[in-house]
């Protein structure tokens, strides 16, 4: 198996996660509320660290995350901190966070992350 690719199927309490090394896109969809989020997110954090370390190409996050418990919020913050550090060093990193326009809570959640980031971070509404 190619260890550069990340492909984690979703469960009832965890999102689906795909990391595509070639295109430099990390995507996540769904809810995230496991008891211990770092059991899941440690491998994602490591993938991001490895990609930023080994490659000079841009990194793009495509998120369609919905509800996050506080444990998952802490893990996502760690990921955004890595992106922020990379951005400060002149790397191209960006986040697109897509949300259903009927649920403004998701936009508020994304906005609270964006407040702490200076890189390109878009919050995009879609209609079902």
């Amino acid at each position: 198996m190619n260890t550069s690719e990340l492909n984690i199927p979703s469960t009832q309490s965890t999102p689906a996660i795909q990391g595509d090394w070639q295109t430099g896109i990390l995507a996540m969809q769904g809810d995230s509320y496991p008891e211990n989020s770092f059991e899941l997110f440690d491998q994602v954090i490591q993938w991001v660290e490895r990609y930023l370390n080994d490659e000079a190409r841009p990194l793009k996050l495509e998120l369609t995350l919905l509800y996050l418990n506080t444990s998952s919020i802490k893990a996502m913050m760690d990921i955004f901190d890595l992106l922020e550090d990379a951005h400060q060093q002149g790397r191209s990193v960006s986040v697109n966070w897509h949300y259903d326009n009927r649920n403004e809570r998701v936009a508020e959640l994304a906005e609270e992350f964006r407040e702490d980031c200076t890189f390109d971070f878009s919050i995009l509404a879609f209609e079902e």
Binding site: Y33, E35, Y67, N69, T70, K74, D100, E104, R105, E112
Partner: protein, 180 residues
Amino acid sequence: MESLDLLAMREAYNRQRVMLCFNGPISRSLIEEIGTALRNYLQADQAKPSAAMDVFGVYIEMTQNIRHYATQQGFNEQDASATVAIARDEDNHYVVSSGNLVMLEDGRKLVAFVETLASMDKAQLKAAYKEQLRKPRTEGAASGAGLGLLDIARKSSACLRASLHEQTDGKAFFSLSAVI
């Protein structure tokens, strides 16, 4: 053994407009299953997506806090039991309540913390929440329920209510209620 008066239980739940309740040892999978049932009820109840997400989020933080605490204390199954109820109040707000056994001293600290939260406005709660979020993982784990309680307080439309009832063996029953 005293026979269970299911009708009295049912009437009490109906009178207090309890949608869903649970009492007993709570596992990781049970939290998820009850959570799914709760989401289905909220959908059937035609709750707004934002309200449904807040009710679900408060339920998750409360029950996961109880699980973390019981694990950290090494409680047996009996002591690790949780009592959880989701109801509607007279203004049709959702009320999420949970109760569990804690060590008396921890219980007193929790009640004091909830009282501190009650004195804070939304902006102060947000600042405290962001500060707690920035604490290192290990430190965050040691402070236990802090981040979860801050999150619950931020999702609530009224101040959180907490109470403590002393039990045997230096323990107490802590209960917490949030109005969404």
